[in-house]
Symmetry: C2
Subunit: 286 residues, 2 copies
């Protein structure tokens, strides 16, 4: 029998549980999710369970981070299955607040400003997205007060933002990054993949192929960002049903633009495949 | 002999002290200050001491909230005297981080956006001020994790902002407001008063006189905001050395503009007297 996580649906219950953990000196890990859990989330929860006494998995489809009402409406929801996956992976608490509970007076007046990440890459393509992420993550940190929090590298800009949020605003907690979990053909796991048709599912592998092509030409000596971007775009163009948003390289610590393709780089890509926008990235050391 | 507060100058020491308070279930009160403590601060610290087991007084002249480098440079500093006042009033810890400690990489990239308070009243007159306040207060909350925090009503917009910061971002703590402490002639206590000449010190009482005049004409039946503002401005105009910034009324819960002068109102005033900008306010129930 798999262990069962406690489901808490109100902030008050969560705060009480947290206070109890504090009294018993239990180290708390937080895995913040929007549900529709897959093997990527599983790896975060398992890692948290291996290093913390209590593992809180939050499931909240955050309206603040959706610019597009359609994307919010279609975002997959499967709470019973999520509770099972979370429990099996080692969660001790699943925190599932309602929107009414999180934002009783509607959108908050005071928010967290993501600074440069508001307009960079994902921020640039999805106005308000990064502010929504920063605000909800700060609020979840305040409610659950984790000692450690676990984020996947798939949302690499989100991970970078969370690191800066934690250091700039003095949240005294450790941010643990976990590698992207991929399907056998290379597609990065994402809750959004469920919305792809069979044909689109195959086309979607072009994101990962473009990233590998980028990594290869850097290995072969390419030092020019424009050339790299053109090469990656050429790979994507071979799938006419896939609309590229960006394919580029950034410095991996703060996502600044590299003058030359040297040092610790991250290749990042975003494209729309059928009804969904997908993202992926790859580390390259040079 | 007066009890002696422990002085902690690093975030690490403060976080350790806070963890120790948590283990011993000590209720923690925070009084966030920029030093130059006066009787207004004293009332906050004494109130905190009466209701909390541990009282942290933070002293940090926050560069983020000064738009004007001159104002920052001239802001009064008197750390030895402050330690004595804090101790006498019941502080158990005085937290005095350096700027280097609080912002090791310079101004933070991720900040707290004060929303409407960015451009309202003080926010409008001092660009960046409210964002600087919101960001430092959030960081101090994260470092000291108070159960209760005590703010004076003198900085009424700051108090309103802090209330929204706490509810919107889910800081689980109680915000306690304390009344303005005044000199015998009505001047609101402020660290900036120390910079007034003898003549300016007398002129400065016009702020409080204008507020009282405003309260009186509302009592006498005035319901029109424009008329109220003109009357208050007329009082200030009698002191030709005093430059009025604003004299107005707002709804006291969120500082929205009243359609008619009814309900729970706050009269607010700001003016420059000699080298300093002073603010004051007064509650009016109608």
């Amino acid at each position: 029998m798999s262990p069962t996580a406690r489901r808490l649906s109100s902030i008050e219950e969560m705060v009480d549980a947290r206070a109890d953990f504090a009294r018993r000196s239990r180290a708390v890990g937080l895995v913040a999710t929007m549900g529709a859990l897959h093997d990527g989330h599983r790896s975060l929860i398992e890692r948290a369970a291996a290093t913390c006494d209590e593992v809180v998995v939050s499931i909240f489809v955050n309206p603040l981070q959706f610019g597009n009402a359609d994307d919010l409406r279609h975002y997959p929801r499967q709470i019973e299955r999520d509770l099972e996956i979370a429990s099996q992976s080692g969660a001790t608490v699943v925190f599932t607040p309602t929107e009414e509970e999180m934002f009783p007076s509607g959108p908050p007046a005071v928010t967290v400003d993501p600074g440069p990440y508001a307009t960079l890459l994902e921020g640039g393509s999805r106005p308000g997205h990064m502010r929504g992420v920063a605000t909800i993550v700060a609020k979840l940190f305040n409610i659950t007060r984790p000692d450690r929090t676990f984020f996947g590298e798939k949302d690499f800009e989100q991970l970078t933002l969370v690191r800066h949020l934690v250091s700039d605003l003095g949240f005294g907690l450790e941010v643990i990054a976990m590698p992207i979990v991929r399907e056998v053909d290379g597609l990065a796991m994402s809750s959004r993949n469920a919305r792809l048709s069979e044909a689109e599912r195959i086309q979607a592998t072009v994101l990962h192929r473009a990233l590998r092509r980028g990594a290869r030409i850097i290995e072969e000596g390419c030092r020019d960002l424009g050339e790299l971007e053109r090469e990656m775009a050429t790979v994507v163009a071979r799938e006419p049903e896939v609309a590229l948003d960006y394919a580029t390289a950034r410095m991996s610590d703060d996502l600044s633009v590299p003058i030359r393709l040297e040092g610790s780089l991250r290749l990042l890509i975003a494209a729309t495949v059928g009804p969904v926008r997908l993202i992926d990235n790859l580390a390259v050391e040079r």
